[in-house]
Subunit: 279 residues, 2 copies
């Protein structure tokens, strides 16, 4: 099968590697508006050929959109305009805006909305990895809007990437994603800003970076190109979760300020319940 990957970054590149290696794709076509990404993906053997968008869609049986969510909002309707019987899916971190953008598109049934919950803080084809998606979750949204054959093919694609499937409405997806992924990035960015603003002598940050900071600040290395559109696309959920988060942080601050050992103990013990859901 010929697979077209639009967007040859970490996510698209990693998918390309395993779809080829595991036999789902006999030929992988790449599309990227950055010539350096195309050259790199070709040189790394991630794609077999790079083509203009129209030609790649025409030659593929399945098209995978793996671009930042702002670009996806513009590209998804364009891709569906080009589609005959091809199947289209995406790997974007927000789903509701995309759902609205193609709600009345005559080719809507050829599209299956998807979000594989995997990634690293690195970006670009250089960051692409085999096994990135293994045993992670993929959220498929609004599947009743897709044609059965399109859904079946997309399921096969994500099964090849060893992703566990979860079905959800796109609006529900965006609320969940705000809680478990998007707000984690916001608080990590804020932590980095806090430390960088204070510690002018960066030697010390580096030396002390073994106390849990590296874990919490890891996501702060994530790219603005990817995350700014996510925050804006998922704006209302983000604002709601950030407000809840600020309240919870305020409860901790209040207990520390009041030296209320008992309240603080209770809050931390409550937070420890996260053990039950994190391995």
């Amino acid at each position: 099968m010929t697979v077209a990957i639009i967007g040859l970054g970490l996510i698209g590149g990693s998918a390309a590697i395993d779809l080829k290696k595991r036999g789902f794709a006999s030929r992988v076509l790449g599309v990227d508006n950055n010539p350096l990404h195309e050259q790199t993906a070709l040189r790394m053997g991630i794609v077999d050929e790079c083509l203009p968008l129209e030609q790649a869609v025409a030659e593929a049986q399945i098209v995978v959109l793996a671009v930042p969510v702002g670009a996806a909002l513009r590209l998804l309707p364009q891709v569906l305009d080009l589609v005959e019987q091809q199947v289209v899916t995406d790997m974007c971190s927000t789903k509701e805006g995309l759902a609205l953008a193609v709600k009345y598109h005559p080719k809507r049934k050829r599209y299956v909305a998807a979000h594989p919950m995997a990634g690293t803080e690195h970006s670009g084809p250089w960051a692409a990895l085999s096994n990135l998606f293994d045993s992670k979750a993929v959220i498929l949204c609004d599947v009743e809007e897709s044609a059965p054959d399109a859904l079946a093919l997309v399921r096969q694609l994500f099964a090849t990437l060893n992703l566990r499937e979860i079905l959800m409405r796109s609006s529900h997806h965006d609320v969940h994603a705000a809680y478990v992924s998007h707000v984690s990035h916001a608080i990590s960015f804020a932590l980095a800003l806090t430390v960088l603003a204070k510690e002018k002598d960066e030697k010390h940050i580096f030396d002390l970076a073994s106390g849990g900071f590296a874990s919490t600040a890891r996501l702060a290395k994530s790219s603005a190109d990817m995350w700014v559109p996510i925050f804006l696309q998922n704006r209302e959920n983000m604002l709601a979760v950030m407000d809840t988060y600020a309240e919870q942080l305020g409860r901790l601050r209040q207990a520390i300020d009041a030296q209320d050992e008992q309240a603080l103990h209770q809050l931390v013990a409550e937070a420890n319940r996260i053990k039950r859901v994190l391995s």
Copy 2:
């Protein structure tokens, strides 16, 4: 050499393992007010013998205090009361309160204040690990207050654990630790509280836990027994850093609310500078 470890948890247990294995200690004595910890440490071979505090201090050449900081405030003066020529060090995460607690103690020069910046979110002797401290940093505080022979022996102990040494005033240590370690734990606890409060259906949290959440929420598994005293001991620095942190989070929230793509891009790019100090 005989080493007494007071507190047989993750930190004391891990130190015991490598001090024995790497030949610094010929005999390791354990002290813990929890009989289950003592039994476990004995059964795991982490210590050679468990003794009451007085006897362990009397038989040791060096005493390592590895208890939560609240307990250390009470124990450190008691241990120094028992000391003749023995050397005493500690592995606590806050340093200024301890420094004040023994400032005028007649045996102050036998004590070397230390904080090895290493750990995991687990606790108890079950969590003890070989190599836990390898290539991490140890902060030695106010070293001019210690006798040269005491300092030399403690340096040898931490060199055995493969810790890189940094010298700092204890007050300075506590500010730095608030920024790079303590506040990371507070924001992780707040994240766990946020998600747990919202997501009653924990199945979904688990399923979506691959989107960066696991990394940011890892520290929320850390024990209340360890962290409540740290937050309270380092209260003023914590409050200051939490306020700065809330401001930075507010800047992100404001840019998202205003849909100010440029401001948001600038904030994330600024946060990305953390790459220079985190590997």
